[in-house]
Symmetry: C2
């Protein structure tokens, strides 16, 4: 459908625009080494590319900038995977070779390295609760009337929640109860915990061990209203460096979406396995429609347990960013597998 020459021109324009954020004119294109024809020819081709919807003008006599359709075509057909630069390679290796043994540490480091290397905003959705299972429940008494319940998952994640112990609860009952819970719930996926606690155990405990029923009622409250916040964001201020966000209003609306953890988590959660790119209007959130979002997933035992993403202007360095995300999601997957 597009001639080789048109593809070449489209590629040059997008590559150049990604670097400069400025409209590209025919003369500038003709100066490129790989371009052997004159500005006039280029102008004709550009006019055609514009008619086809791949390019846009900012005003009637301006150079061209890529349209969203242009980016989409570029990403789908023109992008060739590049190897990571030695520097990127080294930085990432450095992070993953330091022998991290904690989930949050891996994620936190990944968020940091991503935003530092790219100057975009990186967002990582932590391991999904349905892939992690309960390792142990512990109760630790802080005082006569307060205690903290600690929940450890197989991924090394620790959730805790303090609660007050009503007078009518016997500390021994509480201990007994925790033992029962551990017996029955260890290995259960976190996501099933509320249900399991609610239905299965309530009846069992009512039957077998009447005396801990009251204790259970209180402990359940403490265990249930966990809402694990597993969204990690890095390099938010990087957006301020992008010329497309020199407008405070834009920044503000974008930040307000990122701040809505629930919304962002849902967006990342709904991503398919592998690498996925949303350009501009392809994003559902209107506030993100000046941006591109590139996501990759990482897995544990073949099951997708989380998503890493980069948010930047539409003129992102797609090929580099894709390589980075690919490398990072693999490294994460590998790291988790080794545990």
């Amino acid at each position: 459908m597009l001639s080789t020459r048109q593809l070449l021109i489209l590629q040059v324009i997008i590559d150049e625009f990604i670097q400069t954020a400025q409209p590209i004119g025919s003369r500038a294109i003709s100066k490129k080494d790989e371009i052997t024809f004159s500005p006039a020819t280029i102008r004709n081709e550009m006019a055609d590319l514009e008619d086809l919807g791949f390019l846009e003008k900012t005003h009637s006599s301006s150079g061209r900038i890529p349209s969203e359709k242009g980016y989409r075509y570029y990403v789908d057909h023109l992008l060739m995977p590049i190897d990571l630069s030695p520097r990127d390679e080294q930085t990432i290796s450095g992070v993953f070779n330091q022998g991290m043994v904690e989930f949050e540490q891996v994620i936190q480091n990944s968020v940091n390295v991503l935003s530092e290397l790219t100057n975009y905003t990186s967002i990582i959705l932590g391991p999904e609760v349905y892939a992690t299972t309960l390792k142990q429940i512990q109760i630790i008494h802080l005082s006569k009337t307060t205690a903290v319940a600690i929940l450890v998952t197989n991924t090394g994640h620790v959730e805790h929640r303090s609660f007050s112990i009503p007078k009518e609860i016997n500390p021994l009952d509480l201990e007994k109860l925790v033992n029962i819970l551990n017996e029955r719930l260890v290995g259960v996926p976190i996501i099933q915990l509320p249900k399991r606690l609610q239905i299965e155990l309530t009846s069992i405990i009512d039957h077998y061990v009447k005396d801990v029923a009251t204790a259970f009622k209180y402990l359940k409250g403490a265990l249930l209203d966990q809402q694990p916040n597993n969204l990690y964001v890095g390099g938010i201020t990087n957006m301020l460096l992008q010329p497309e966000f020199s407008d405070v209003a834009k920044i503000h609306s974008l930040y307000s979406v990122i701040e809505q953890e629930e919304t962002m988590a849902n967006i990342l959660r709904s991503q398919d396995q592998g690498i996925h790119i949303s350009i501009g209007q392809e994003n559902k959130m209107t506030e993100m429609q000046d941006c591109s979002l590139i996501t990759a997933t990482y897995t544990l035992k073949g099951q997708q347990i989380g998503t890493i993403a980069l948010l930047g202007p539409k003129r992102m360095e797609y090929s580099r960013v894709i390589s980075l995300l690919d490398r990072l999601s693999n490294d994460m997957t590998k790291t988790f597998k080794n545990w």
Copy 2:
């Protein structure tokens, strides 16, 4: 030193400027109910106030804006404490009446309510380590080779850290070790932990229980490199709403300071007991010299254990903000005391 009339004019100008962020002219001042004299008189007084350094002009024929000296005088002499508005009152009561039992919850809620009510950025330094003591150490095995060490403080704070268990370590030794540690270290202030671990125990363990020495060597590593991050920030994007920060460069430099948790923590840590106000250049960080920082401290057992702060433009609503901080720090102190 200043006449009543001058004080009145200074007060009107600052009050007005706090609302509008626009220079105030003599005519506008004369329209105020409490002002009974003519613009010409006001102009004379304003010229005097400017000579004394309390007011500034943005250009030679503009109205006046308060200088930093002006704000300082206002804060020191003109501010009268006001009662919280019913709405503020209600919002804060709502937060503190919900029976929170967890340290982090209290702080997180306080940060949120502060930034929501004020539209400034709120920063809270969590309870200082020297005021919190160790409640318990726990080791939970995740797999044959990995475990997570959990550290609970008397404030209900939980720190955790995964580590891998080298082959040469006997799990039983590890357990024995944890028991020993708990026996000896419970009640020790967190800040002394590294020292205690390092010096006192190393020798004791070497003496008494040779077999756990190796285990200790590894566990120590896991316990020592905790750096509790106890800085909570809310409403960072609020700064974008202030007209004095319509410039992206300013925002960026300000954000970069706030992001340096260590720096911010040190600033908050060095605050005196009670409410303290730093206006503009009074702030040490150059990036914050367009801002005012108002801090209040909260206590546990009479000892100052943390700081809450509001960061905003120099034309902050000082009286309201002070009332809010005062109320909030009291509520926090009270809440912690009740536990």
